[in-house]
């Protein structure tokens, strides 16, 4: 190769690319996907994020347990902690290490019962005998770290749950597994058990009249609340608000609570939206509430504050062996023709580890084309050897970007020949994302301050669009009385062949309880406009797909 050829290639490589993308639009899409992903991961994790380095665990929280897979009821232990039963089974089958080390500090004995691993995780099972536990909404170790050799200690996530009626806590600490097939020595350090309770602060804000209102607070861990959006549709009340001056060292999970007649109105859905400032929290909440109750409703600010603690420091030294677990793993390729289905998930492999079953899949497509919808199923159940397992609502990805659903093992099938174990997948909760043809244009005649409507049909369903101007901005509200219509995801204005998109307005995953969508087009020109419904969803809750994978 001569230098001239290299020079030529370097020159060519420096040539500007033909048509770089709209990076700002790309960033908006990235932010929207991160919000959605964050919410899906929260539904599968057991905990509340205080800030990036700490995790709190809610005890007996219905919203968290709702995302857990169904398990047969057994004696209270680690069963209701995610991966607890599998970890215990793995240890009892000899695939993990039974430790039973007890350390007492401040009169509190903590036992490290055992450790179980697979290729991705190392789980440590703990118990703690504590008499006279105070009432609490959340609990954590103030410090929980794992170190190996001279490497820097890393913070680890610990789930804690109280055994009913007894002064005993069951704990499961999880960390990314870096064992490989080696045997390594570790130090686990736990310090101070801290209890938290929600504390409420009244707000001088009347919910139905709170649009664009701001309330300053004093003597609270948040300095102000600003309501940036308030929408009432049917019996759903949706608010978006900004909490400023949040003291993250003093509180966790600050949020608004809606009360009416002394009763708390539970959030249907909630999303924490992106914020560049760590002391500013932007949040959106949806409440289902009648007109009568909404009229007399009030807002409160609620946040978790420390309500008690048990001082102590517990150090454990132990060894963990990755070889046993690595040798016990099975991977079974799946036949694509067996699992052909209309969804985006193409199941490629089933991986069985001592801690879980993973159903690996490739996800086809990112966006729908006209006539080529994207189909997804909310529920993925696995039936192995006649036993049903639910993966919950979340999906997971490996380090190299492969998708999978997780299922907790009801028991360890060590003696089974996995090549012959019958496996079935049941998909249900069908959701379809479709794209309207580019010629599907609705005439918006001279948009002005008064509301006008135009109707169209999408997937055989009548959908109504109400449009009006607010200053120079155009507001488009869409909805359908047909419950199978899932709502407009995003529309656009056709401006002589170019597309103008509305402001980003993400919904929490699963929607806001209605198929109503409000979109704002900033600074539109005067005169007639053309609207394309673009991306929309419809649902079929009765659809069910059964796949015999083996």
């Amino acid at each position: 190769m001569t230098k001239s050829m290299e020079g030529n290639l370097e020159r060519m490589g420096r040539q500007p690319l033909d048509g770089e993308p709209d990076y700002e639009a790309m960033w908006n899409r990235i932010e929207a996907q991160l919000v959605q992903k964050n919410q899906q991961e929260r539904a599968s994790h057991r905990g509340i994020s205080r800030h990036k380095k700490k995790v709190l665990v809610l005890v007996a929280s219905v919203s968290i347990l709702a995302a857990l897979p169904a398990m047969a009821a057994v004696n209270g232990s680690w069963d209701s902690l995610w991966n607890g039963r599998s970890s215990l089974n793995a240890i009892e089958q000899g695939l993990g290490d039974r430790l039973d080390q007890t350390v007492t500090s401040g009169d509190i004995p903590v036992t490290l019962n055992g450790v179980a691993t697979d290729d991705q995780r190392m789980n440590m099972l703990l118990t703690m005998n504590v008499s006279g536990l105070p009432a609490y909404d959340a609990i954590e170790f103030e410090r929980s770290e794992l170190s190996e050799g001279k490497n820097k200690a890393e913070h680890i996530q610990v789930q804690l749950k109280q055994e009913q009626g007894q002064g005993r806590l069951f704990g499961l600490a999880t960390v990314q597994n870096k064992l490989g097939e080696e045997r390594k020595s570790y130090q686990l350090t736990l310090e101070n058990v801290v209890f938290y309770q929600y504390r409420s602060f009244p707000l001088d804000l009347i919910p139905v009249e709170s649009q664009d209102k701001k309330a300053a607070l004093s003597g609270t861990p948040v300095s102000s609340v600003e309501m940036t959006s308030v929408i009432r549709e049917g019996n759903v009340f949706t608010v978006r608000y900004k909490l400023s001056g949040v003291n993250l060292e003093a509180v966790a999970n600050p949020h608004l609570v809606l009360t009416s007649g002394g009763q708390v109105i539970k959030e249907m859905y909630a999303a924490v939206l992106p914020s560049e400032d760590p002391n500013v929290i932007v949040r959106q909440s949806n409440f289902e509430i009648s007109d009568a109750d909404l009229k007399k409703a009030r807002f409160e600010l609620s946040a978790l504050e420390e309500s008690g603690r048990k001082e102590g420091r517990w150090n454990f030294a132990f060894e963990a062996d990755g070889k046993k677990a690595a040798q016990a793993m099975f991977a079974v390729k799946l036949n694509p023709t067996d699992d052909a289905n209309d969804s985006m998930m193409k199941f490629t492999e089933m991986v069985v580890t001592p801690l879980e079953i993973r159903l690996m899949y490739e996800e086809g497509g990112r966006f729908p084309e006209p006539g080529v919808p994207l189909v997804n199923y909310d529920s993925v159940k696995l039936i192995v050897d006649g036993r049903e397992m639910d993966s919950g609502s979340g999906f997971w990805t490996t380090k190299d970007g492969r998708f999978y659903r997780r299922f907790e093992l009801p028991q360890w099938y060590e003696q089974k020949d996995w090549r012959n174990v019958p496996v079935k997948v049941i998909l249900s909760g069908k959701k379809v994302q479709e794209r309207a043809n580019k010629n599907h244009l609705l005439e918006l005649v001279q948009p002005a301050a008064e509301r006008k409507t135009v109707k169209t049909e999408l997937h055989g369903t009548s959908v109504e669009f109400t449009y009006y101007k607010k200053g120079k901005d155009l507001i488009v509200e869409s909805s359908s009385s047909d419950p199978s219509f899932g709502g407009i995801t995003q529309s656009y204005l056709d401006m002589k062949g170019e597309r103008k998109f509305p402001e980003m307005n993400p919904n929490p995953p699963g929607g806001n309880g209605t198929n109503h969508k409000t979109e704002r087009y900033v600074n539109v020109p005067e005169g007639d406009l053309k609207l394309n419904p673009f991306l929309y969803q419809w649902v079929d809750p009765k659809a069910r797909v059964e796949l015999n994978l083996r």
């Binding site: 190769m1 001569t2 001239s4 050829m5 030529n8 290639l9 370097e10 060519m12 490589g13 420096r14 040539q15 690319l17 033909d18 048509g19 770089e20 993308p21 709209d22 990076y23 639009a25 790309m26 960033w27 899409r29 990235i30 996907q33 991160l34 992903k37 560049e276 694509p336 193409k346 490739e362 086809g364 497509g365 990112r366 966006f367 729908p368 084309e369 006209p370 080529v372 990805t397 190299d400 970007g401 794209r435 580019k438 062949g497 170019e498 597309r499 998109f501 673009f534 991306l535």
Partner: protein, 174 residues
Amino acid sequence: MKSNRDLFEAYKQDVYKLCRYMTNNGADAEDICQEVFIKAFGQDRNRVTEEKAWLLRIAANLCRNHYNRKKRGAHKEIRSVFLMKPSMPAQPEDEVVRQEQSNEFAQLLEGLPVKLRTALTLRYGNGLSLEEVAQIMEIPLGTVKSRIHKGLALMRKKMESQESYNRKGEKCFD
């Protein structure tokens, strides 16, 4: 540690460039570029010391996965619906796959095996050193040199077959 936005602003063009040369399709490149940052932001980057190399490694892996999917024909390629091409209003926007070969370098890369293409793109498209390419692809330096060498040999044949690249007295030999 940079914020997500800062990270995106600092490396969006490097990542897009790699994706574009690897896929030779603007819509696919945009999809993958977006996916790179979504994956990166979901990972713990406290221990990442070289952000550019780390991002390009994610990008190279996703491009390789994309290439393998296309090769298997398992999925119909789906065009990014957000792709706006104001400079080409006459193009039918619903075409599923469109090859964009207006760039000389992209033309030479076309058809090369994915491993060679990756090494050449990182070296000449992204302007990285051989050591940096080795780090990103997680292969020995010798392997990088070998892949570059093989890729250049294939490119040379292409170049020689194009009249504009034939210059008197400048034929390249191994």
